[in-house]
């Protein structure tokens, strides 16, 4: 099956070339077919590869294909090579699957763009899919980095898609540069890896990791930390998360695909992929888990008070990513990836649902001017309900299984504090998600009459993907039922754990946690029950605050004036960065230009020497007084001096 691998990225690339070069002439119909079509084709091939892997014995689940040697200079060598193993196969399915649905959705969402813009949009979307697949399927760190920056570029292009509005372009630029800060760390990580292993290919690095790097040593620490800096930049964790809320300036399907389902999870994938290194740096794992949990809580608090529907979802994404990093940080890689998959389903659905609402209300994104859309948009309503329940972690939906697995692993790995953070965040998640849900679909319609008139359900091309994602959000969790519940349902295995085990097996030799068949400790049930309880509590509180007694939130906000304004202004982090980093840098640059360049070098050194030379020449010319006797005097004096020197010298 190896020869098929290159087809997966080739299809989107083909889409890019066709739409990019001939898009305007082909017209919206053709472009609308090619764009999603190529991603669909990639999905089919991924599925074929997935099934082929399933058919193999666990240890043999690895397909590789090397196209050609990309860069070979001195002792550095990097190929364009692909690796399809359970981890990357899962990601491929998510990227192409969810991607395909979002492409289809976009056809409807973007239909009022002119043909040039339409073609440009799908070119960028296909380019993104191509870059994301490169990232996921790369068999060495360098190609992974190529995909890494490629998706960064596409997010820049797509955020600033409606470039006529200056803020969109600025948001795009901000995203790219903050990503670049992360990539800076990633690059240093790659250099260190190459320095220690003499190669960047996974096959050379991971198997020999334990022998080359001293476990817990400085080198392992710095490699993993630098790689994590890259992950923080890309997956919008503290402190490099500031670009994601602004990234909402892009079209909603873009937010769904890039800033929810796929790109932002690249960081989690990278940490999971290099688990062999991270296992050697427990300190870094602790940092990962810590930042994950902190970001989860921090983002949840901000999400609580946002009024723009997409901003709420953005902070929710940051929070959920925090969960994934928490999972990966406690070495529960499989749990982290599982949450990544389920999150892709319901977060994409939430974004597309929000898109459908915005589309219906002609661009209205403020929750305070929505409400009572349930009768008008039934499909969107029910699918959004499924997704909101899933993210809140209500069994039997997807969110419950993946989030609970992470919480349990955090507790089981001996991090009660992190578990507590996660637990509180679970409650907050339920609270702000249902706040959004009730404000949008229930209660009186607070928009303008004209909006009410126009509000209508989205066309089929938008609602069908919603429905599919809705189903996925419901059943998505069943692929990872923990043993604790599995036994009651007649020995249903934790499919995803088993599926990913071989990839993470090689890390520390002995079988992953899941394989242990020991009795499930009672604590797991207790925690499970607790998390369900806190979720329902959150939902009820949300219903109470925003449905039953809508004036209560105003009163609470009035009483807790200070914390409310802090949250409202997102802890002023953006302003802080601007003041601490951006403005001083610009000032320093101006200083460098005006003072150092023009003043010191040009003015003083170059200009200075020129003036000195001029002054000298002017002084010298004074001697040419024109009177012959002085000439003769000087002449004769000189003669005497020479003579004296010659005689007595």
């Amino acid at each position: 099956m190896e020869h098929l691998i290159w087809l997966v990225p080739a299809f989107p690339l083909g889409g890019v070339l066709i739409n990019g070069l001939f898009g305007r002439r082909l017209g919206k119909g053709a472009v609308g077919f090619i764009g999603p079509g190529v991603v669909g084709a990639a999905f089919v091939v991924s599925l074929v590869l997935f099934l082929d892997l399933v058919g193999r014995a666990p240890e043999a689940r690895q397909l590789t294909q090397t196209l050609y040697s990309w860069i070979a200079a001195g002792d550095f060598q990097a190929n364009i090579g692909f690796l399809v193993d359970p981890l990357s196969a899962t990601l491929m399915l998510v990227v192409t699957g969810v991607g395909f649905l979002i492409h289809v959705y976009s056809v409807g969402y973007m239909h009022d763009e002119d043909s040039a813009g339409f073609a440009r949009y799908f070119t960028y979307l296909n380019l993104f899919t191509f870059a994301m697949l490169l990232l996921v399927m790369a068999d060495n760190f360098l190609l992974l980095f190529v995909g890494w920056e490629g998706v960064g570029l596409c997010s820049y292009l797509l955020i600033g898609f409606w470039f006529k509005d200056r803020d969109n372009a600025t948001a795009g630029k901000k995203a790219f540069i903050v990503n670049r800060v992360g990539d800076f760390g990633f690059l240093l990580g790659i250099f260190l890896i190459f320095g220690s292993f003499g190669s960047v290919a996974f096959a050379d690095v991971f198997p020999t990791a334990a022998s080359v790097l001293a476990p817990g040593g400085d080198l392992a620490f710095w490699i993993c930390l630098f790689l994590f800096v890259g992950a923080v930049g890309k997956s919008a964790q503290i402190p490099l998360y500031v670009w994601l809320p602004d990234a909402m300036a892009g079209p909603t399907p873009v937010s769904a695909l890039i800033h929810a389902a796929t790109m932002v999870t690249a960081g989690v994938y990278m940490v999971a992929r290099s688990h062999a290194l991270y296992d050697l740096a427990p300190d870094v794992l602790a940092i990962v888990a810590g930042i994950g949990a902190a970001t989860a809580l921090y983002a949840a608090t901000i999400g609580l008070v946002q009024t723009d529907i997409k901003k709420v979802l953005a902070y929710s994404t940051i929070s959920q990513l925090g969960y994934m990093f928490l999972g990966v940080g406690v070495a529960a890689y499989a749990a982290g990836i599982f949450h990544l998959v389920t999150h892709a389903f319901f977060k994409a659905l939430l974004f597309l649902g929000a898109g459908s609402v915005i589309h219906a209300l002609h661009g209205e994104q403020d929750l305070r001017r929505m409400g009572g859309l349930k009768p008008i948009m039934p499909v969107t309503y029910w699918t959004m309900l499924a997704a909101t329940l899933a993210i809140a972690g209500i069994p039997p939906l997807a969110g419950f299984f993946s989030k609970d697995e992470i919480l349990w692993r955090a507790w089981d790995a001996g991090h009660p504090v992190l578990w507590a953070l996660g637990f509180v965040t679970a409650g907050l998640t339920a609270l702000y998600m249902f706040r959004l849900f009730f404000l949008t679909f229930h209660g009186p319609f607070r928009g303008t009459a004209e909006q009410r008139q126009h509000a209508h359900e989205s066309p089929a091309s938008m609602t069908v993907p919603l429905a599919v994602l809705g189903v996925l959000s419901v059943i998505g969790g069943w692929i990872g039922i923990p043993p604790a519940i599995g036994e009651f349902l007649g020995g249903v295995p934790n499919a995803i754990e088993a599926w990913l085990a071989p990839v993470f097996l090689s890390a520390h030799g002995e079988a992953g946690h899941a394989a242990e068949a020991h009795a499930v400790p009672p604590a797991e049930y207790a925690l499970m029950a607790a998390s369900v309880a806190v979720a329902t509590l959150g939902i009820l509180a949300a219903r109470h605050l925003w449905l039953a007694r809508p004036e209560v939130p105003q009163r609470i906000a009035a009483r807790f004036q200070v914390p409310y304004t802090i949250l409202r202004n997102k802890y002023w982090v953006d302003e802080l960065y601007d003041a601490l980093v951006v403005r001083p840098y610009n000032a320093l640059s101006r200083f460098a230009w005006r003072i150092v360049d023009e003043g010191l070098i040009d003015g003083l050194l170059v200009g200075g020497t020129a003036k000195v030379v001029q002054m000298q020449s002017r002084a010298m010319s004074g001697w040419e007084s024109g009177s012959i006797p002085t000439y003769v005097m000087v002449f004769f004096g000189g003669a005497i001096v020479i003579l004296a020197y010659y005689l007595f010298g």
């Binding site: 010319s621 007084s625 012959i628 003769v632």
Partner: protein
């Protein structure tokens, strides 16, 4: 009064040369300056001849001839310049001619 040696001639040449030089330095009349230059040249000639006969090399003699020729040429041209200067400024005082200053 011992035998007249080469030293005597050379000293005489030096003295004449210096007198010529002083003439050039002190006098402001172009003609006189010119004549002082002639004295200096002749002093040089004397030294040439002295050494030529002292070491028996004809080079000195030929040199004197050339110097005389050059002096003649220089005198001719110099005097022509002085005439031109005189016509221009009605005076031969070299102080008057300083337009070439820097």
């Amino acid at each position: 009064m011992s035998e007249i040696g080469v030293g005597h001639y050379i000293t005489l040449s030096a003295v004449l040369f210096t007198i010529g030089a002083i003439g050039v330095l002190t006098r402001k009349n172009a003609i006189i300056v010119f004549m002082s230059i002639e004295i200096m040249l002749n002093a040089a000639n004397l030294a040439f001849v002295t050494f030529a006969t002292a070491i028996g090399d004809l080079g000195g003699m030929v040199m004197v001839l050339i110097v005389i020729a050059v002096a003649a040429a220089e005198a001719a041209v110099g005097l022509a310049i002085i005439v031109a200067m005189f016509r221009h400024r009605e005076t031969v005082n070299i102080e008057a001619f300083s337009t070439m200053r820097g």
